[in-house]
Symmetry: C2
Subunit: 133 residues, 2 copies
DNA sequence: CTATTTGCAAACACTTTGCACAGCA
DNA sequence: TGCTGTGCAAAGTGTTTGCAAATAG
C-alpha cells in the first residue's frame, strides 16, 4: 500500500487521543511528558513525528504563539498578511479594531492588544500560480 | 550610570537603522546577512542582542509567524487568548468573522483564513496580580 | 579606571533524521 | 519477505551566554 490512509494502531493515535482530551494547547514536549506519566512507552521523536503528520493531514491545528522570530520596525498596532507560498509578511493598511478586544473582555480576560494575521496568497504569488495552471 | 538610556553609537543603532529601512519583517539572520553585505562588520550574536534589547524597549515589534510550536485538537477556525503572565493559551468562544478577510482581499491578497490572538491577563492571573498589589 | 559593548566559540533548546530492528501483512 | 512504525543517538537549526579584548566616558 503506497499511501498511508490511517494507522489503526500505533503511537500516533495515542498522541492524537491525548491531544483530543485537552484544551491547553500543549507543546510536543508537554504531550510527551504527559504520555510518559500515564505509563505510555513512547519517545519524544515519535511524538514530533506524530504531530507533524497529524498537522499535515489537518487532523490537528498548530498555533504560532511563543517564538517571535520576525521583526517589525512599526510599533503602532497594525495587521499582517502572511503569504503561504513565498513566506513573505506584509503590513496591511487596515484600521486597527480595538472593539475586537471588548468581546474577549466579556469572557473575563483583560486584553492589552491583539494580533491578526491573514494567511493566503500575495498578489505576486497569485500571478505565479495562475501561470502554472 | 546604572540604567542604559540610549546608546548614541554602536552596533545596536546600525541594526535599528537597517530594520527601519525595510518593510519585509526580516529575521535576525536576514538582518545580519544584509548588514554584512553592506560592509558592516558585525556578528550574529550582536544582532540578536540588539534586537532583543530593542524589542524589550518597545522600539521594534516582534511577530510570531513561522514556528508553530503549540498544538490544538480543534481544527475549525476559532480565536485564542494568550496570557502574558502564565503563558497559557485559551480557546475563545467567539464567532469567527470571515468578513475580516474581505478587507484584506480588497488590498489584492487572496485570503484562505486568518488567525486572531488576544494578549493580556487571564482571569486567574488578574486575580494573582490583584493580590500582589 | 570603570562600565559597557563586542566577537568568538561554546553552550543551549528545540526539532529532525539515519539507522537498525521489531511487528505486521 | 517487504513495508510501516519505533527508539535511540546523532545531527541540524536557531538563539543565548561566558569570557576576554576593545572601546567609551
Amino acid at each position: 500500500m503506497k499511501i498511508m490512509l490511517r494507522q489503526e494502531r500505533g503511537k500516533r493515535d495515542r498522541v492524537l487521543q491525548e491531544l483530543l482530551g485537552r484544551t491547553d494547547h500543549p507543546t510536543a514536549e508537554e504531550l510527551y511528558l504527559t504520555l510518559r506519566e500515564k505509563g505510555e512507552e513512547i519517545s519524544l521523536a515519535t511524538v514530533y513525528r506524530a504531530l507533524r503528520s497529524l498537522a499535515e493531514e489537518g487532523l490537528v491545528a498548530t498555533l504560532p504563539i511563543a517564538p517571535a522570530d520576525r521583526f517589525d520596525p512599526t510599533t503602532r498596532p497594525h495587521y499582517h498578511f502572511h503569504c503561504l507560498r513565498c513566506d513573505r509578511v506584509f503590513d496591511l493598511d487596515l484600521p486597527y479594531k480595538p472593539e475586537l478586544d471588548r468581546a474577549s473582555e466579556k469572557l473575563g480576560f483583560s486584553v492589552y492588544h491583539h494580533t491578526l494575521v491573514f494567511h493566503g496568497l500575495c498578489p505576486a504569488c497569485q500571478e505565479k500560480t495562475r501561470r502554472v495552471e
